[in-house]
Each structure stands twice: as structure tokens, then as C-alpha cells.
């Protein structure tokens, strides 16, 4: 009896594990049209399995994944191809710096069709631990449920860092880390119990960031590499809504300036050149050596009447972290207004070689500009190039570098024009960009079902461990007023 059971078990396992080999009725020379489109993408060896399915109707899929060591994974699926994490990790590790080949056959209209194989390039460059992003419905002025979440890149696990249900009626936004290190984090909470949370090491504080000299609370953040400063923009914003079906929302700055916050002394540092009435200054960021402050600047116009005439240039000013002082002059690194364009979100690569930015036709709210594309400027030569491999016909906007400068994540509306989704792309030391891939999910219908947009995707080099009870406690206090350095 015992033997019989064992034999039956072995037989069952054999039947289950041996996929029936497919004899195609038709062989096509084109690559399969799959969702997500993982054909010829470049991935890190530690990425979660790239499950996918045929875009067109099918009743069954058969997939063979082959590495250079002649190891293969043979999979079949009726709804999607779901790859085991263990087998996937093994094949990627064995093929670092090489490519794996994937052959897809699909049973369509009762015929097995084999498509031309496609490749996935497995980069030698490591990627960070995970991503942090906000999930928010693509609303206009109001918001209901939202949260900031973290996702490990080697699997599909997503955890909430904070949700606005913790603080009734609040909005959580603009999470920012120092060079992907979550030990230093800045986060805004807007609403009745609002303020800016600064978590630095074990210390956490809630700041009231409006000062007599600034026009608003702190808005767009960027950490100084030393962790001693954070630069923020301060913006007097207003939303307007388009009627044209091709456009949607603009968040207009009626005025904006840039300040630097001294974390250790709880002081705001000002510089007259970054607070000019005749100029809108916004989207600040520090260079990796901490000695240059990049930002966008545009000639101030009457708002909202002349909003579509506003063009931001990419500028910089020197910063001395030792004395916490600024240089005397502003340099224009990319004169976008000269070509009738506008720059947003300048983000320097951690190796200091490049600045990635978004280029749009006008204004500063690139996330709702269909024409928004990613560009790269070589810091040394000043050469600007469009990142064609990463861009699409739809919006590409917010972007963030991995800690080793070899990967970047960006939000794009390319899937349906409304919801932003995170794409990751490889970039080599020469600035050559690989084909980006959509952040993989276990269920390929995940993005179709999700009614939230991914907002501000940022790499993190380890898990974020925000003590929610401290946040809740701080939010119920009056917070600490930021002082200003005279």
C-alpha cells in the first residue's frame, strides 16, 4: 500500500512537472506581442520574475526560457506565464552580463503559433533593494485614500510605509531620501495635522515650515549628500483644468523660490538670487559632491493668463556646505527657453556625470504633459541628448537614479494615458540607455485593475522603517517651528 502511494505520487509529480512539448501549427517571424512588453529589455540579476501574457487573445501559452549554460525553464499557462522565483533567480544569476532567450508559443484560435524568440539582457550592474512610491488616484483638487509604499525589487512584496487613513483627512507626499538611504527621509503631511516629517537616523521631528520670509511651506525636496541640508522649493500654487481632451490639469506657480534647510540647526537658509520676484525658481537638487545646487528658473509671468508662455531653464549656483553659503552667480546649464521648451525635475546622477531632466513645451507640471520626455545632459560637456530608448508617445516625467548610477526609474503614462506606472531602465557609463521594463507584478492584470497612479518612484538601498506610532504622536503635537537664518 505504502509503495503504491509513493508510486502514485511520483507519477503525479512527473505528469505535473513534464509540460507537453508543443508542435507549432505555424511559425511566425515576428516577436510576440506581450504584456508587459519585456522583449529585449535589460534587467538586473536580482529582479523579480517577469511574468507576462499575450496581448492578443489566447487559450494557452508555452514558454521556453534558455540561458547560455543550456539550462532551460519550460512553462505553460492559460492566463499568464508565471515563473518560479527560484528558477528565475538561478537563470539570471548564471547569465549575468549575458542574455537569456525566450521562445513563446501561443494557442490562438485553436492553432499553436510559435513566435520569433526575444532576448532579455541580464546586466552585471546591481540594482538597489527596492522602490518607494506614492499610490494616489489621478484626481484633481481633492483626495481620498492614498499612501506611500515600498516594494522590494527581488520579489513582489509591497508594504505600506504610511497611509493617510492614519491621519484623518491628510495628504502624504514628496517622500525623499538621501542618496537612496531611507535612514534620512523627508515627508510632507498636508492637512489639519500637517507638517514636514524629517527622520534622520533614530531622530524624527515634525516641522512647521512656513517662515515669515517664505511664500509657503516647504514643497519639492532634495537631500544634500552630507545629510546636513535639504533644499526645498517654496511654491504658491494654483490648479487649473483644461477642456481640451488632450490635456488635463496644470499646477501653476504664481510665485516660487528655493531655500536650503539646515537639518542640524533647524534653520532655513536664504539667498536673494534664489528668491527673485522676477523669476520662478523651483525643482532644486544638489550635485553628488554637495557643492552645486541645480534648479529650474523661468521668467515670471502673469498667472494663469500667460502660463503657456512660461519656460524653465536648467540653472545652477554653487553652495559651500562648510559655511552654508551660496555662490555669487547663477549659471544656465541648458537654455531650454531658447528652443521654446521648459525643463523640470533635474536629477544629477550619483556619479556626477549626468543630469537627467524632463522636457516639456511649457510650464512646470510635466506629469500631465503628453509631450513630456526624458533628457540627459553631460555635466562636463554640456551636451544634451534625448533619451529615446526610454521615451514614448505619452508622458515620461518623474525620474530617480539608483545609488550606483546604472539604473533609473521613471513614471510614464504610456500604458493608457491616464495612470502613471513605474518603468526601470539601465544606463551605462556612456549614457546609453537600455529598453525600460515595467515594474514586474505577480499578476499581469495588476496594473489593469489598479485605480491608483504611481507617484514619485524613488530607489531605496534598504527597507524603510518608519515608526508610525511616532508619526501619529508627532502629528498630534504642534510641531517644531523652523527658524530662519538672518
Amino acid at each position: 500500500m505504502y509503495r503504491l502511494l509513493i508510486s502514485l505520487l511520483i507519477l503525479t509529480l512527473t505528469v505535473v512537472s513534464c509540460k507537453q512539448k508543443i508542435t507549432p501549427d505555424e511559425v511566425k517571424h515576428e516577436k510576440p506581442s506581450i504584456f508587459p512588453d519585456y522583449t529585449d529589455v535589460t534587467v538586473p540579476a536580482t529582479i523579480a520574475p517577469l511574468n507576462f501574457k499575450m496581448k492578443d487573445e489566447f487559450s494557452k501559452m508555452d514558454v521556453v526560457i534558455e540561458g547560455s549554460a543550456n539550462k532551460t525553464i519550460h512553462l505553460q499557462g492559460k492566463k499568464q506565464i508565471e515563473i518560479s522565483t527560484k528558477k528565475w533567480t538561478d537563470i539570471l544569476e548564471e547569465n549575468r552580463g549575458k542574455k537569456i532567450q525566450i521562445t513563446v508559443s501561443a494557442k490562438q484560435k485553436n492553432k499553436w503559433i510559435r513566435y520569433a524568440p526575444f532576448s532579455i539582457f541580464v546586466s552585471n550592474d546591481p540594482i538597489d533593494h527596492g522602490l518607494v512610491y506614492r499610490l494616489i488616484a489621478p484626481g484633481y483638487e481633492v483626495y481620498s485614500k492614498m499612501g506611500i509604499y515600498q516594494r522590494k525589487l527581488s520579489n513582489y512584496k509591497q508594504d505600506a510605509i504610511i497611509e493617510n487613513t492614519l491621519l484623518s483627512g491628510s495628504c502624504v507626499n514628496c517622500h525623499s531620501f538621501r542618496l537612496t538611504d531611507p535612514d534620512d527621509m523627508s515627508l510632507h503631511i498636508r492637512g489639519k495635522k500637517g507638517g514636514t516629517i524629517i527622520a534622520s537616523g533614530d531622530d524624527m521631528k515634525l516641522l512647521n515650515t512656513k517662515t515669515p520670509k517664505t511664500i509657503s511651506n516647504f514643497v519639492y525636496p532634495f537631500w544634500h549628500p552630507s545629510g546636513n541640508f535639504i533644499t526645498y522649493s517654496v511654491n504658491k500654487t494654483k490648479q487649473v483644468f483644461h477642456e481640451s481632451k488632450a490635456k488635463r490639469v496644470e499646477v501653476i506657480d504664481a510665485a516660487s523660490d528655493i531655500i536650503v534647510y539646515d537639518v542640524n540647526n533647524n534653520e532655513t537658509l536664504f539667498n536673494a538670487k534664489l528668491m527673485q520676484d522676477s523669476t520662478f525658481e523651483t525643482f532644486p537638487s544638489f550635485s553628488p559632491n554637495g557643492r552645486t545646487l541645480y534648479f529650474c528658473a523661468a521668467e515670471a509671468k502673469e498667472m494663469p493668463a500667460k502660463y503657456n508662455e512660461v519656460r524653465y531653464n536648467l540653472c545652477s549656483i554653487t553652495f559651500d556646505p562648510e559655511s552654508a553659503t551660496f555662490g555669487d552667480k547663477i549659471d544656465t546649464l541648458f537654455h531650454a527657453s531658447a528652443i521654446d521648451k521648459s525643463v523640470t525635475f533635474p536629477r544629477p546622477s550619483p556619479d556626477g556625470k549626468y543630469i537627467m531632466f524632463t522636457l516639456i513645451d511649457y510650464g512646470n507640471f510635466s506629469i500631465w504633459h503628453k509631450e513630456a520626455d526624458l533628457y540627459l545632459i553631460d555635466v562636463k560637456t554640456g551636451e544634451v541628448k534625448v533619451m529615446d530608448a526610454a521615451n514614448s508617445d505619452d508622458t515620461e516625467s518623474y525620474h530617480s537614479w539608483s545609488s550606483n548610477s546604472r539604473w533609473f526609474v521613471f513614471s510614464s503614462r504610456r500604458l493608457n494615458g491616464l495612470y502613471t506606472r513605474p518603468f526601470i531602465a539601465h544606463i551605462d557609463e556612456n549614457g546609453t540607455v537600455g529598453k525600460p521594463f515595467l515594474l514586474p507584478q505577480k499578476n499581469t492584470d495588476y496594473y489593469e485593475q489598479l485605480l491608483f497612479s504611481y507617484n514619485i518612484p524613488e530607489f531605496i538601498n534598504k527597507k524603510v522603517d518608519l515608526d508610525l506610532r511616532t508619526v501619529e504622536h508627532l502629528a498630534n503635537t504642534s510641531g517644531t517651528n523652523v527658524t530662519q537664518r538672518e
Binding site: 484626481g139 481633492v142 481620498s144 485614500k145 484623518s168 483644468f241 477642456e243 488635463r248 493608457n416 485605480l451
Partner: protein, 600 residues
């Protein structure tokens, strides 16, 4: 009649009466509130949706509540299910009391049910709460059925945790009830159950687990406020708040147990025979008083208008308004939309005592954007503004659920605008519902089929009417959007009536006269009544009437009525708005003289 018979008869009478009152109230007086609950959720028949609901406290009963609420699109189902679950609360409460105290009739057992029924009058309280309360009381019945002390003890511990996770805050009621039951057994006050071994320890254990369970989940699992971790979002849409009446309902069953535990032995059969009918009458009238005073019948009418707009039942809206003019912003908006859709704004607008903001609801960042707010923009052809308000409504729901009505409307807007990928996404969600699947499947056939969309009776018209220019939304200058509509399609009669109505409501005579010549291109057989009344009045303001205004024919009836109005006005009518209203309230002249604009 012996006591048993008497109790049985009284119990049947009370139950029948309560059931009938519930049925009549929800069926005849408050059904629109229930019907709208269905529009406020997107219930997906998918395993993932269930899984997601099982992952947080109270999620299971929210799932159940949404499951039954999806049938509320049928008024009869809404009324029957609501009545059934409220009745279940009272029925299960009676079971608890009769099982524990061995009597047939406990009128106080109706109190928790009556209480939750009164809460449901408020649109922000959920059906899932009624189901949760009913299930928790049935949980007490189950507990009482466990005759063996050890089984009872095990089920007590399990049910406290299970009630907490599945039903949310009503676990408090369950835990307190079984603690009281055990105390009564311990002191031989009531019940024929055997005392638990080490009863003090177990009772303390019940209390401890009741307190520790939510704290544990708050600390290690949930991202929620402490209060929400105890109560969950199964009851009230603003989950971070705990309305006191809800807390009282949680405490009501334990309080009734406590009352009967002490009072039952003190009252004889004869006294009970007198007291019970008195108590019954008090409860009956108290409940009736609560229904009358807590129900918002004006809001019920508002919601009725909103629901009729969903059905595009323009004739019924106008008919309803003719019986009683709507006074709320949603009813008025529905009425002007119905008049606009039936090309009657130009003839009937001022028959309904309009106010300046009746054509569109002014955008307000606070509170929830009404479901109806996007509708005039949709039918006019301002699809982006319709989308904007759909999303604002979606986003401003207190509990972050997605109102299916807005999902559907958004998908329609996207199909009209040719944004097919987004439309497909929303249709895909609707395909996972029970009642919108068929519609969504049909709508899928329109994706990327331009000809089919253009031929669609509603979508084709709207597509044809859309504006070609881009501009920013500005409520105060909505006339510019309406003019843009007319520029894009000069035959858009609805837009024309809206423009003229907007200027007349604003008392902007210059702009009214400016656009009056277009009346000839709109296919009217004669100058519409409202325009005649406006024109004949405006002419009186000129020293010398411009020649071009004489081309419009004013009927003798209108002239005569104006003369009568002028006479009455001059003879002291200007200081008697009520009298003038009775005689001339349906004229434009009355609006001009007796309705103040905000800036006047």
C-alpha cells in the same frame, strides 16, 4: 390565557409590526437613499476582491455589505435586504434573551435593531454595519448553544477574535455580552448553563483578549488610527470617527442583558402583562418619533432627482418638479438639465423659481462632489470638465471606495474622447460586476470603432458637440465654455439655451441681446416664452428701442401680462414679494425684481 400563550402572541404581534414598519418606511418613504448606496460602490465579483477584503479588520462584513448592496439598484431588493438585516438584529437579540432568560417576549430586544435602523437614515452609515451587528448577536446565540463549559470557553475566545477581524467594532458587543452571561451564570442569576471551570480567570481572559486583540493588530498589522483599529470602517464612512449613537448600539445588547438579569425576577406575571404592552407602545412611538425626526426627507427628494438623472428620465424629473419645485441644489440641477435636454429651458426655466447657480453646481473643494455635478457638462459636450468632476466625486467619497456611477460615466467620457485605453481599463472593472457586465461588454464593442460611436444616440451627439478650443475651467466664466461649444457646433441648441439661461440668470441683458439673433438659427417656431418675457422687459429699459429688437415677435398674451405686472408693481407690489410671487412668480420679471444675485 396562560403566560406562555400570552408571551407567544405578543411576540408574534411585535415582530410582525416591526417588520411591517420597516418595510413600509424603507419602501415608501426612504428608498432613494438605499438605491443610491449601490451607486456609491464598485463591487467586483472576483477572488482578488474578496482576498483584499479579508486582509483587514471588518473587511469580511464590508464585502458582505457590498455584495447585498449591489442589488440595491432594484428598489424592491434594497427595501427587502435592509428590512431583513435590521430585522435579523432584533430577531437574534430576542433569541439571546429567550435562550438565556427562558421567556418568550423581550421587547427591549428591538432596541439595537431600531437604533441601527435610525443610523441608516444617515447616508454615511453602511448596510455592512447592520449585517455585522446581526452576525455578532447570532454569535452570542451560538455561544449560548454550547452547553459544555469547555466548548463554550473555546468558542468564546475564538469568536472574540473572529468577530473582531470579520465584523469590526461590534465585537465589543459580543465580548461584553458573553462576559455578562458568564457573570450571571457565576452568580446563579440566570441561565441554565454550567459554570465555567476557573470562571474568573476565563472571564478575565475574555476581557483581556478583547482589549489586546485590536492593540496587537494596531501595533503590528494595521496602518490605522487606534480608534479605527477597534471599530473598523464597516459602519461609518468616516472611519476615523466614532459617532456616539454607534457606540450606544454596541453597548445596547449588554445593557439589555444586564437589565433583564436584575429586573426579571422582580416583576410578576400580572405586572408584566401590563408593563409589556406599555413598553411596546413606548418603543413603537419612540421609534416612529426617531424615524420622523432623524430622516432627512428633503435629501430623499434630492437623491430621487439624482437617481432619475442616472436613468435619463427627463420627463419624470420635470413632472416631479411641477408637483413640487425642488429646493436643493441637486434637485434644481437635475431640473435645469432635464429642461435643457428637452429644449424647454427657454420656455419653462422661470416657472420653477430658479436661482443663479441652478445650471451648474459651483466647484467646492470641501465635502464630496455630488454624483450629479458632472452631468450637465457631459450632456453639453464639455467632456473634460465632466471627467474632472467624475474624478473629484470618485476622490472625495469619504471611504475612498469607487462609485460605480462615476466609473461608468468616466468610461463613457473616454470613449467619446477616443481615450480607448483608459476606457477599456474602466470597462474591464465593470465587466467584473454582476449588473454592469452586460453594459460594459456592449461598450467594449465601441472601442476604436469611430463609426459606431458617431452613430450612438448619446455618445455620437456629445462627440459632435465637443469643443475644439482649449481653455481653463472657470466657474465664474462658464459662459465662455458655453460659447466655445456653440462655436464648435452652431446647431448645439442645448448649449444655446444654457448660454441664454446663464445670462438671464445673471441679469446680463447686454449679453442676452448679443446672442439673441442666433435664435433664428435654432429652429424655434416662435420666440420662446422666456426670451419674449426678457425681451419685452428689456425694451422698457431703453429710451428709444433699437430697431433690430423689433424684429422679434412678442405675443399679445406676454404684453398683456407685462402690463398687468407693471401695474401691480407700481401699485405697491414692489414691497410685496409674496403677493407678486403668487400672481407672477413664474415670470422672468419676477426673477429680475425679486431674486437677489450674490453680488447685489
Amino acid at each position: 390565557m396562560n403566560e406562555l400563550n400570552y408571551q407567544t402572541q405578543l411576540s408574534r404581534l411585535a415582530n410582525l409590526l416591526f417588520f411591517v414598519v420597516l418595510l413600509v418606511f424603507w419602501g415608501f418613504f426612504y428608498s432613494n437613499h438605499l438605491v443610491q448606496k449601490e451607486q456609491m460602490q464598485l463591487f467586483l465579483l472576483s477572488f482578488d476582491y474578496l482576498k483584499e477584503h479579508l486582509s483587514y479588520q471588518g473587511g469580511f462584513v464590508i464585502y458582505l455589505g457590498e455584495f447585498f448592496t449591489q442589488f440595491f439598484r432594484f428598489t424592491w431588493a434594497a427595501v427587502l435586504f435592509t428590512t431583513f438585516f435590521i430585522y435579523q438584529v432584533s430577531y437574534a437579540s430576542q433569541k439571546v434573551l429567550s435562550r438565556f432568560f427562558n421567556s418568550k417576549i423581550y421587547l427591549l430586544a428591538f432596541v439595537p435593531a431600531m437604533g441601527y435602523n435610525l443610523l441608516l437614515l444617515n447616508i454615511y452609515f453602511k448596510l455592512s454595519g447592520a449585517i455585522a451587528v446581526a452576525l455578532s448577536v447570532w454569535g452570542v446565540v451560538f455561544y449560548l448553544k454550547q452547553m459544555a463549559p469547555v466548548k463554550r470557553m473555546i468558542s468564546g475566545f475564538i469568536l472574540i477574535v473572529l468577530c473582531y477581524w470579520m465584523l469590526g467594532g461590534t465585537y465589543i458587543s459580543f465580548a461584553l455580552s458573553i462576559v455578562l452571561i458568564e457573570l450571571f451564570i457565576r452568580f446563579k442569576k440566570a441561565g441554565n448553563l454550567e459554570d465555567l471551570p476557573n470562571s474568573w480567570m476565563i472571564i478575565s481572559g475574555y476581557v483581556l483578549i478583547g482589549i489586546v486583540t485590536p492593540l496587537f493588530f494596531h501595533k503590528f498589522v494595521l496602518i490605522d488610527t487606534l480608534l479605527s483599529s477597534f471599530i473598523s470602517s464597516a459602519y461609518y464612512q468616516f472611519s476615523p470617527m466614532l459617532p456616539t449613537p454607534l457606540l450606544l448600539i454596541f453597548l445596547s445588547l449588554p445593557a439589555i442583558l444586564l437589565f433583564h438579569g436584575f429586573a426579571d425576577g422582580l416583576v410578576s406575571f400580572n405586572n408584566r402583562k401590563i408593563l409589556q404592552p406599555v413598553l411596546g407602545i413606548l418603543l413603537f412611538f419612540g421609534f416612529g418619533f426617531g424615524l420622523y425626526h432623524l430622516a432627512d426627507f428633503e435629501e430623499e427628494i434630492e437623491i430621487q432627482y439624482e437617481n432619475l438623472v442616472t436613468q435619463a428620465n427627463w420627463a419624470k424629473i420635470i413632472n416631479l418638479a411641477e408637483q413640487e419645485t425642488p429646493t436643493g441644489e441637486k434637485g434644481k440641477l437635475a431640473l435645469t438639465l432635464a429642461l435643457g435636454k428637452t429644449e424647454q429651458l427657454s420656455s419653462k426655466l422661470f416657472s420653477f423659481s430658479p436661482e443663479i447657480n441652478d445650471l451648474f453646481i459651483p466647484f467646492n473643494i470641501r465635502g464630496m462632489a455630488p454624483l450629479i455635478a458632472n452631468e450637465p457638462y457631459f450632456y453639453l459636450g464639455l467632456t473634460n470638465f465632466s471627467k474632472m468632476l467624475c474624478i473629484e466625486t470618485l476622490e472625495s467619497t469619504p471611504d475612498g471606495r469607487s462609485p460605480v456611477r462615476m466609473i461608468k460615466r468616466y468610461a463613457e467620457n473616454c470613449i467619446i474622447d477616443g481615450q480607448y485605453d483608459v476606457a477599456a481599463k474602466y470597462l474591464h472593472a465593470l465587466e467584473q460586476t454582476l449588473f454592469y457586465r452586460k453594459w460594459a461588454n456592449e461598450a467594449q464593442k465601441y472601442i476604436r470603432d469611430e463609426e459606431k460611436i458617431n452613430d450612438h444616440q448619446v455618445w455620437g451627439d456629445i462627440r459632435n458637440n465637443r469643443v475644439k478650443d482649449d481653455f481653463y475651467f472657470n466657474y465664474d466664466q462658464i459662459d465662455l465654455a458655453l460659447i466655445a461649444l456653440l462655436r464648435s457646433n452652431p446647431q448645439n441648441k442645448m448649449a444655446y439655451e444654457y448660454i441664454m439661461s446663464w445670462y438671464l440668470l445673471q441679469k446680463d441683458f447686454d449679453e442676452f441681446l448679443n446672442y439673441l439673433p442666433l435664435v433664428k438659427t435654432m429652429g424655434y417656431h416662435e420666440l420662446p416664452l422666456v426670451f419674449q418675457e426678457a425681451l419685452v422687459y428689456i425694451k422698457t429699459l431703453f429710451n428709444e428701442v433699437p430697431e433690430n429688437l423689433n424684429q422679434y415677435k412678442i405675443s399679445n398674451e406676454v404684453r398683456l401680462r407685462l402690463n398687468k405686472y407693471a401695474k401691480a408693481f407700481q401699485q405697491g407690489g414692489s414691497k410685496k414679494p409674496d403677493e407678486m410671487g403668487k400672481a407672477f412668480g413664474k415670470t422672468y420679471w419676477y426673477y429680475v425684481h425679486f431674486t437677489e444675485l450674490e453680488n447685489e
